[in-house]
């Protein structure tokens, strides 16, 4: 008796499974096309949008860019060929011996700060 009930239940479930499968195979062409498109989109977008490690570290992009510039500048400083160093010294000499008001150069820090401040206010 219990076996009968179980068999009946199995037949019932099997019948539903078969009907669902027929339904899935009989989908209209437009739906099939859109499912294929969804699959392609998922494979392209899902593999492109891999998170970058520095995001996990919480370093903002601007900070990272600034750090990169500083590193490059540092490397350039240490790697400077002698000719470049000589040119730099001459420039400094010219500034010191020019007739320009040297106070202007003393105020340079102020002007740099002002431009930064205006940038933030804007």
């Amino acid at each position: 008796m219990a076996v009968d009930v179980q068999e009946k239940e199995e037949r019932f479930v099997k019948g539903i499974r078969a009907a669902l499968e027929r339904n899935a195979q009989a989908l209209d062409r437009d739906t099939i096309r859109r499912l294929k498109q969804a699959r392609r989109n998922a494979l392209v977008e899902g593999t492109l949008m891999t998170p970058r490690p520095w995001r996990w570290m919480g370093i903002p992009a601007a900070g990272l860019a600034g750090l990169a510039v500083a590193v490059v500048a540092l490397l350039m400083h240490f790697d400077r060929p002698p000719a470049f160093q000589a040119t730099h010294q001459i420039e400094a000499l010219e500034i010191l011996t020019s007739r320009d008001d040297l106070d202007l150069y003393g105020d340079m820090e102020f002007y740099v700060w002002l431009s930064e401040d205006e940038g933030h206010a804007g």
């Binding site: 539903i16 339904n23 989908l27 494979l43």
Partner: protein, 183 residues
Amino acid sequence: MEQHIDAMDRFLASVERRAFCVARIATGDREEALDIVQEAMLNLVRKYRLRPQEEWRALFYRILQSRIRDWRRRIRVRKRFMTWLNLWRDPEDPEREGKLEASEKADGLDPEQEAAQGETHRVLEEALHALPKRQQQAFLLRTWEGLDTQETALAMGCSEGSVKTHYSRAIHALREMLDSRWP
């Protein structure tokens, strides 16, 4: 890496039709079902493509069920908002009840689909759609997708004991609903 993508492509191709049917049974709407399947596929590829392949099936259906749940939440919120909006606009509006029913009726297939599928399919999908959601999930995952109890539990985010209970109740409910209408 290419092999991995190929394997993922084959896997998604093997589940896309059923996933769509599951989502359509849950939502009663073709467009919503397509969106849900697209989101589930994208999520799986983005977050889990490097997991062992034998885990993909359960993971994919877990994501699918999660998207379906999100859809239901959005519908509930939308319904509440529409109810409030209709009450605020014109509580005496004689067509208000009709509008509410129209917005609530997200379970009808369009006439073209009904004709194509035939009476048997219509009856079956209506019965499945009418099942309590957890029973619907357990039944479809176990019966149609062939997930075992453990995989179904992972997909549903519940215990294996709960899966068995939901599955058993689903069969009982379907037999009562389908009864003489089922060949």
